[in-house]
Symmetry: D3
Subunit: 169 residues, 6 copies
């Protein structure tokens, strides 16, 4: 059985990792869909899809399930989003998501959806990690080691700090 | 004479209905343009264009003018919007609108614009009706009966409540 | 029951009309989807969606079924086309089409498809009518009278002759 | 040597003019890129690209450097924006910008970036000038004379006041 | 008075130059619109918009009229193309074109169109010059000297020869 | 070292497989980019990106290099294509391609390109395999076994035969 897990992964963190480990106990293969793949160099989405593929692939090496890591560009209309996703990834039987819109759209399309328990979301959250990066707090412990290494290699924290600054327009 | 009346109709309500009844006294044919047709499944735009066509067509059955109900997808640039609309609908002589941008764009293009008096806008407003749907208030009396029936058939209130929830990021 | 009939209608002709009359005996309501709605002013697609709405609405006045005439812009990818169509028009139970791609896409999506017998296709064909317009042959008898009138009002034959000319580039 | 200077120029003002005069002392030719060229008729972007070309060309007549004034439509993804700009304008050796995102994107692409000192930004700012237009304050002195004339000719202040009004939804 | 002259200019040649010289006797200012600006690296459109701006600006230096050289990206729909062009360039009173579609679209929009006599089109033609580049014939004499220089600087003939080759698929 | 290998893989065949085996001897990791990812259900591109991911992942299981299989949607302009690819995939040092346009675009961008010897291209070619599928010839031996299985599971040959038929329009 194949399952789909979608996130923006800005960045991929240990909360994602724990959820994927649980999913790996339920399905043989996991498609990890990287949402908003076309976005990068913004406060909300600092990393490119390719950078996120690199982070995630490094972190998934020990996972027991076979993983497909696939960038998913946004489409401008919710009503076709499910068929867009289906066309871009291998066929799947179940979606794992806690995003209400994602849950709704797949449910309306007749796809089975499971809501994986989120792992310590007050600690492991992309928004919080990006804020820690901006404020200089110690964020490295919240992500798998290969993710921290990948972010350092691309000078990711500096990019995040730069792109959001006001230009005094 | 043919007139154009544009709205997002999220949902179509009795305020729209009263305005259309007045327009029907001035023109023989009315084009009802459904704006932001590509949007759906959001807090601002919960219903698809097709669902809105269904609602409106049901409500217009007793109107004396001939009506064309046409979905209009957004174009990303205001400067070409008037010619986009003109290409998608039958030719018309007058636009009925109170939206300042719509009024401005058609006026700059040399099209006659009339501002129909809005009907009890503090009561009949799409924003207010969606808020009532979210809070569980009694909204059904604010829309024509066929609209209420169409929204129930697609479980529209539940959709609206779902799509706007935060996912705890 | 509601049925969907899709065409480009460049222009709408008596072959379409005969098929719609037969469909009207099977369903209560018909959605007439105008394909490639964003196209106009080309040899293949001389008329805008709005002009085609006008032609078709005139021709459908005597049809016994309730008709919805809805422009459908192309989407660039076949895999999401069915959900695009579904989002733009009222819900339907059956599609009437002889276009192999349309038949395939709806069938893969689990929608019932019927193939209406085409009416004298060697005579009634959009391609043939456009060629007759170009060559000066008598095409008016192949379309409903309101269609011929609409084409004349917009000087449609002259437009068709103009847009395809080579500029000697 | 050729330099690139990018702005939205809503409107072009004396702060831009002073910066360009300094750039003109460093390079022989300047490409003035008009960002968000597809935008118009909004509070943030009231003027079309063509109107901005007209304003800027009028103001640049006395500048010593050769100027190319080029509209640049936005592309939806930051990661390709630098190559989009490069494809649309003559080749250049240096970018002049204080916008953090622009600086970052060109720097990551290996292009030399200089940060020109901004001229009295608390006075000369597009945002402030648009606010003065809205409030009826005297803004004409903050822009070159040809810019003020161009804005008057298109009735630009009236447009700005109109497009942002709420329609009472 | 301001006139508009549109072409793809792949490449700009002496035929264009002669036409512009005649237009310069009729108007004070000329907008040179570079069509299909987003295209490059194909057999039909080898040069980027920026490269074409460079070529044209070099060739126009001796022209008596003030010239604006503006890249124009294609829009996918003919029905909005005129308003797209109008939004991107300074306002104009007359269009100079021999392209039947361009003539038709501006005429339907109520814009005055003049058809400038083409100059020895059997000799000066973009298609013919690209064929000469491919076959190794001597094309340099057919373009203004700055154009030939610009093409050499970017190794343009080699690019043209490369991009069209079949890959044996 | 990481290498990039791009193709449309309609379908993936033994010619691709042999080339990838040779690449695997030169680099540690290979990114397999699936071009024209948004295309499907046409004669040229019958299979969705997701279906192609499934085919390729099955065939790559025994390859010695680590592989990333990434769908790449087309962008409409050649001049930004290299940065689009770079943003979507992990960073790479060398591109393997025989497509002249791909070679040219990466070379102009300063990326190292190697031309892998094609393997019996008169036998192993996507075009030829699709023609064999259409004519009923025995194509299964030209693709890896998992590819043949995947195509059968989605009834791919029947899809290919259907989508290209003329509708007698």
């Amino acid at each position: 059985m194949r399952g789909l897990y979608i996130g923006r992964f800005q960045p991929y963190h240990l909360g994602h990792q724990v959820v994927l480990q649980k999913i790996a106990q339920e399905v043989d293969e996991i498609v990890v869909g990287i949402g908003s793949a076309q976005e990068s160099h913004t406060q909300e989405n600092p990393f490119t899809a390719g950078e996120r593929v690199t982070m995630i692939a490094g972190a998934l090496k020990d996972l027991e399930a076979t993983c497909y890591v696939i960038p998913l560009e946004d489409v401008a209309r919710n009503a076709v989003w499910v068929s867009h996703v289906r066309a871009m990834i291998p066929s799947f039987e179940v979606v794992y998501s806690n995003n209400p819109l994602v849950v709704r759209l797949f449910t309306e399309a007749g796809v089975a959806v499971k809501r994986p328990p989120m792992y310590k979301r007050e600690i492991y959250s992309g928004t919080r990690i990006r804020e820690m990066m901006l404020s200089g707090a110690n964020w490295e412990g919240l992500v798998p080691e290969p993710v921290a290494a990948a972010i350092k290699e691309i000078d990711g924290v500096d990019r995040l700090r730069t792109v959001g600054k006001d230009d005094g327009g």
